[in-house]
């Protein structure tokens, strides 16, 4: 068999696996573009988990009670774990952890633009849990069925942990909704600021999304951006009504015929502006990540030196 034929038969085998719902595993042959797409998507996802700790970390020391503080601390710790699961999944595709970090720190890799918005009040912590984790869950539940094995397994683990994130956020907001006028105002203000950015988390419209079609063909994604966004809105309106909070979209209306909510236009100019680095916190987020990375450098080196010393001592004992 010549090389040309060989590639074709490998490709055919790969596609047959995708068609019959057999997961692709790290050592299996895969098209270079499938590998690249996965590295881009999984690392972007990992960076989002890690950068996502920053806006919430901002409130750990100011949580209004011990109950809220332990919950927030546990949630932020989970997000660090999510970052780890995803970095590990990306590494199975042949890219190193160091390279992944560098891509984030140099701005070569993106992360979810939602984390470029500031957390101005305690209500924002509730809104993030409810809306941001809620939107992430929509996406991640779909990804438990993604075609790449390590990514799917990471997602199963993550989804098990996410549910508490959304619940603790919603519970914060229930408290505020039963509070005084000022607390209710805080709740509405958070809703007004987080609603649209949360909808943007699903990415551009299907018609404008560059990678979508191929990703669905490869079963990396199972639903399109617009489908997921609609699912999210349909699931969230009732929860907003229970809180007695107003969704800041005058066009939001149940459409009997479609069996879905209609909603207003998303401000895509704002979306691209934030994606391209000009959101309220983009610079701060990368600055904080760099500080953590550089500040941790001596710890990483010292741990390695200590491990080497210990290994040597063991060797000497044996000899």
């Amino acid at each position: 068999m010549d090389n040309h034929n060989n590639i074709h038969s490998l490709e055919a085998k790969f596609e047959a696996k995708i068609d019959s719902e057999i997961k692709i595993e790290p050592k299996d042959w895969m098209p270079e573009s499938y590998r690249k797409t996965l590295i881009r998507q999984i690392s972007q996802h990992a960076h989002s988990e890690v950068v996502g700790m920053l806006p919430e970390g901002n409130w750990i020391l100011r949580a209004p009670s011990l109950r809220r503080k332990v919950a927030l601390l546990a949630k932020v710790q989970d997000e660090a774990g999510h970052g780890l699961y995803l970095y590990s999944a990306a590494e199975t595709l042949g890219i190193s952890r160091e390279e992944l970090y560098q891509q984030l720190l140099t701005g070569k890799a993106k992360y979810s633009s939602i984390f470029n918005y500031p957390t101005l009040s305690w209500a924002d912590i509730g809104a993030i849990g409810w809306l941001v984790d809620g939107a992430a869950i929509m996406n991640q539940v779909m990804l438990t069925r993604t075609s790449y094995g390590p990514y799917a397994r990471a997602m199963v683990r993550i989804c098990k942990e996410e549910s508490f994130h959304q619940r603790q956020g919603y519970e914060i907001l229930i408290s505020l909704s039963r509070g005084n006028a000022e607390q209710k105002k805080m709740l509405q203000d958070a809703m007004d600021r987080w609603w649209w950015p949360a909808l943007m988390m699903f990415g551009p419209h299907d018609s404008a999304s560059t990678h979508s079609e191929q990703s669905i063909k490869w079963k990396i994604k199972r639903k399109s951006n617009d489908e997921l966004r609609q699912d999210f809105i349909d699931a969230t309106v009732l929860q907003a009504n229970y809180l007695g909070v107003n969704i800041p979209d005058p066009k939001l209306k149940w459409n009997e015929e479609r069996g879905h909510y209609d909603f207003g236009d998303i401000d895509w100019e704002e979306f691209w502006n934030v994606v391209n680095g000009n959101g309220p916190c983009n610079k701060q987020r990368i600055k904080d990540r760099k500080k953590a990375y550089e500040g941790g450098e001596w710890v990483r080196e010292a741990a390695m030196a200590h491990a080497e010393k210990r290994a040597k001592r063991k060797e000497e004992k044996v000899a």
Binding site: K27, D28, Q77, L84, S88, R157, A303, A307
Partner: protein
């Protein structure tokens, strides 16, 4: 960059006594002790384990997924399964 990165470890967790260790994921650590501590912190935060094994990823030897014949011979040997044999129903469960 000549800085040494922490090596990668594969993590196996026994969820409770009586069950075998199962692959949970992987992580970087300077040595085995640290790998166990990190594994505890990321993989057993909700009581998912009573025992942890760590194995350096570079020490894992795997079969070749491109070797089509590796698992071929077992496929045709249906006589290795109990259902291959006819036992009258009157005999009861066997």
């Amino acid at each position: 960059m000549d800085k040494k990165e922490w090596p990668l470890w594969e993590i196996f967790i026994r969820s409770k006594s009586g069950l075998s260790h199962k692959h949970a994921g992987s992580l970087h650590a300077a040595d085995a002790e640290m790998a166990i501590e990190h594994a505890r912190d990321v993989y057993t935060r909700r009581n998912e384990g009573v025992s942890i094994w760590v194995v350096k990823s570079s020490e894992v030897i795997a079969s070749d997924p491109e070797d089509e014949y590796m698992f071929e011979s077992a496929k045709t040997k249906i006589y290795r399964h109990p259902t291959f044999y006819d036992i009258p129903e009157e005999v009861g469960h066997m």
